[in-house]
């Protein structure tokens, strides 16, 4: 029992390794194509798999929309991935700070007024010694239909 109580104190403290900034608010008339950027920041010394990992078992960084509201589409453009080597593995990753560019189209039947499109950014972070369980962070994109 003592071992169970002592073990947690021996672990490194968990910290957020990826943070998502507030996306820019989008505004447009019905049928307009609108754009936003989702700022992402990864803690120094860590990486996340890119949207196209080098191996089928690796978990990609991926935006999944759960509710678009008066918007449609939500096509995400991911930045160019970096290639790094860990052990004898060549990995396709993102590090540091970058933006995810998103294109929406305002629905032809959208009512005028404000709203929020919601989604999740899924990712899985590692450093060169260890990996951390997959996580997802909620994304909220505020919009205004004019």
């Amino acid at each position: 029992m003592l071992a169970v109580l002592l073990l947690p104190a021996m672990w490194p403290q968990s910290a957020e390794r990826l943070t998502v900034g507030q996306p820019q608010k989008v505004a447009g008339k019905r049928t307009d194509v609108v754009h936003t950027k989702i700022p992402v920041s990864i803690l120094d010394g860590y990486h996340v798999n890119s949207n196209t990992p080098s191996d089928e078992y690796l978990i990609p960084l991926k935006v999944t929309w759960t509710s678009l509201g008066a918007l449609e589409g939500g096509q995400v453009s991911y930045p160019k991935a970096e290639k790094i080597t860990v052990g004898d593995q060549s990995l396709s990753v993102f590090t540091g700070k970058f933006d995810l560019a998103v294109d929406f189209k305002v629905s032809a039947k959208a009512p005028a007024g404000p709203g929020v499109a919601t989604g999740k950014l899924g990712f899985q972070a590692c450093n060169d010694k260890m990996c951390f369980p997959p996580k997802s962070i909620e994304i909220n994109v505020p919009y205004q239909v004019q």
């Binding site: 169970v4 672990w11 968990s14 078992y57 010694k129 260890m130 990996c131 369980p133």
Partner: protein
């Protein structure tokens, strides 16, 4: 003449060495830096987890053997570096009373794990982990996390993150040298012939 004197001195030294240390073929004593003294070890929490055949595996089944308990996942790159080492260690040391037991932390379970094990030619038993087990082992916040468990079922070493192959090998060798002969050495192990089952 001087050559004869030197040869005689060497022979005397070897005989004296045999007298003091013994002349058997047993390996020299290994002392791994990561292995704790017996007084500092605590019992490894027992668990009941399913293997690929659906058979329940208890850690307590392995008492009397040295166990390398590896928490890992298919999506963990550093884990993938260690797995071939563990496969090799299982092959070389199984008959000496050693077993590797992998605990996969994949959310999708065997759907992801089975093809991965086949691809990596893993020859040791793997079970799917659960929250109670990881909590019992301190949360296992990062992978790989590897425990070396001695013949008495106590945690002798913990490696969080990718460790060196030699660290594992030295630790296992030290634990194999401890105490009496392993209960199951050379005989049936809890894992049986895992490779043959796959």
């Amino acid at each position: 003449m001087s050559i004869l004197r030197v040869s005689g001195a060497i022979a005397t030294a070897l005989l004296l060495g045999c007298f003091l240390e013994g002349c058997s073929n047993r390996p020299s004593t290994v002392k791994a830096a990561s292995v704790k003294d017996d007084k500092d070890r605590h019992a490894a929490p027992d668990f009941a987890l399913k293997d690929a055949d659906g058979k329940t595996v208890h850690l307590s089944d392995y008492k009397g053997r040295v166990v390398l308990l590896d928490f890992w996942a298919t999506w963990c790159g550093p884990c993938r570096i260690e797995i071939p080492w563990f496969t090799d260690m299982e092959r070389k040391k199984k008959d000496q009373g050693f077993e590797v037991l992998g605990v996969s932390m994949d959310d999708n379970g065997w759907e992801d794990v089975k093809p991965f094990l086949a691809e990596m030619k893993v020859n040791y038993r793997v079970v799917i982990g659960d929250d109670p087990t990881t909590q019992a082992y301190g949360g296992v916040d990062s992978l790989p996390t590897t425990f070396l468990i001695d013949k008495q079922g106590k945690i002798a070493a913990i490696h969080i993150g990718l460790a060196g192959r030699k660290e594992f090998e030295d630790g296992v060798d030290e634990l194999l040298q401890e105490g009496s002969s392993p209960v199951n050495a050379g005989g049936a192990s809890p894992a049986g012939n895992v490779a043959a089952k796959r």
